[in-house]
């Protein structure tokens, strides 16, 4: 492997460790936003939730957490559908979102 290749592998390892170390705090924020959105109907909380899920979905696989990214992606689609009015806000929808966050916590 060239020096550049080794440097890139080292960078990816360090970035993955950093990303994974930050995940517990991210999931706590996710839970808070989900709770606020459900309890208060606060649209900003919904958008924050969407943004957080989008970020995790986009980065997790690169940093070695493929299943985490998949779960975040499913949550992102669900939240987007609700925000855009394409999915009714039902107990089942909230349950699926809570399940997604729980699943992500288990994957840590």
């Amino acid at each position: 492997m060239s020096d550049g290749g080794a440097a890139k592998q080292q960078l990816l390892r360090e970035a993955s460790q950093e990303f994974q170390a930050a995940m517990p705090a991210r999931l706590r924020e996710l839970s808070v936003s989900l709770q606020q959105w459900r309890d208060d109907g606060d649209e900003n909380s919904g958008r924050s939730l969407l943004q957080m899920l989008h970020s995790i979905h986009g980065a997790a696989a690169l940093f070695g957490m493929v299943e985490m990214g998949d779960v975040a992606g499913r949550g992102e689609r669900l939240v987007r559908q609700i925000i855009e009015g394409r999915l009714p806000v039902t107990a089942q929808a909230w349950s699926e979102l809570h399940d997604a966050v729980s699943r992500m916590r288990l994957l840590l």
Binding site: S2, D3, G4, L12, F19, H54
Partner: protein
């Protein structure tokens, strides 16, 4: 003239990474630097405006579609309306791999589209293609294969 000497006469291409995820933005900046680019990041509207007002403009922009306080498609539209920025190549980064969003980006003047999650080497290949380069500057400098 050896490649190393030839390269010293040129400034590295400057890449603006517009990405709100701090881990991903940092990784991309450092990865680009290993590849021989000069990279800066912007995570929100204010930082984007600050970076795009600098002269000369970046040689390439990596643009995340979904940002906290601004839509990436709007950033692209503003760039294409601006005389100093309209020719700057833009690669869109997104997890929204729908046909509609791809067409929207390309119709808005994006030069390419990378769907997250991506492999860094694929992103670099797209960057080099857009910039019309065959090899990474690092490999040119070291002669590594």
């Amino acid at each position: 003239m050896p490649p190393a000497v030839r390269l010293q006469q040129h400034s590295p291409d400057r890449v603006l990474v517009i990405e709100d995820d701090p881990s991903l933005a940092k990784f991309l900046r450092q990865f680009l630097e290993i590849e021989g680019f000069a990279a800066v990041t912007a995570a929100n509207r204010d930082e984007i405006v600050t970076q795009l007002r600098r002269t000369p403009p970046p040689d390439l922009v990596l643009l995340d579609v979904m940002l906290p306080d601004v839509d990436g498609f709007n950033v692209l539209r503003k760039m294409r309306e601006h005389p100093a920025l309209r020719d700057v190549p833009v690669l869109m980064l997104t997890a929204k791999a729908t046909r509609e969003s791809v067409l929207k980006g390309l119709a808005g003047g994006a030069n390419g589209y990378i769907t997250k999650p991506f492999q860094p080497e694929n992103l670099m290949a797209a960057i080099r293609t857009v910039l019309g380069r065959r090899d990474s500057p690092f490999e040119q400098r070291t002669g590594a294969q």
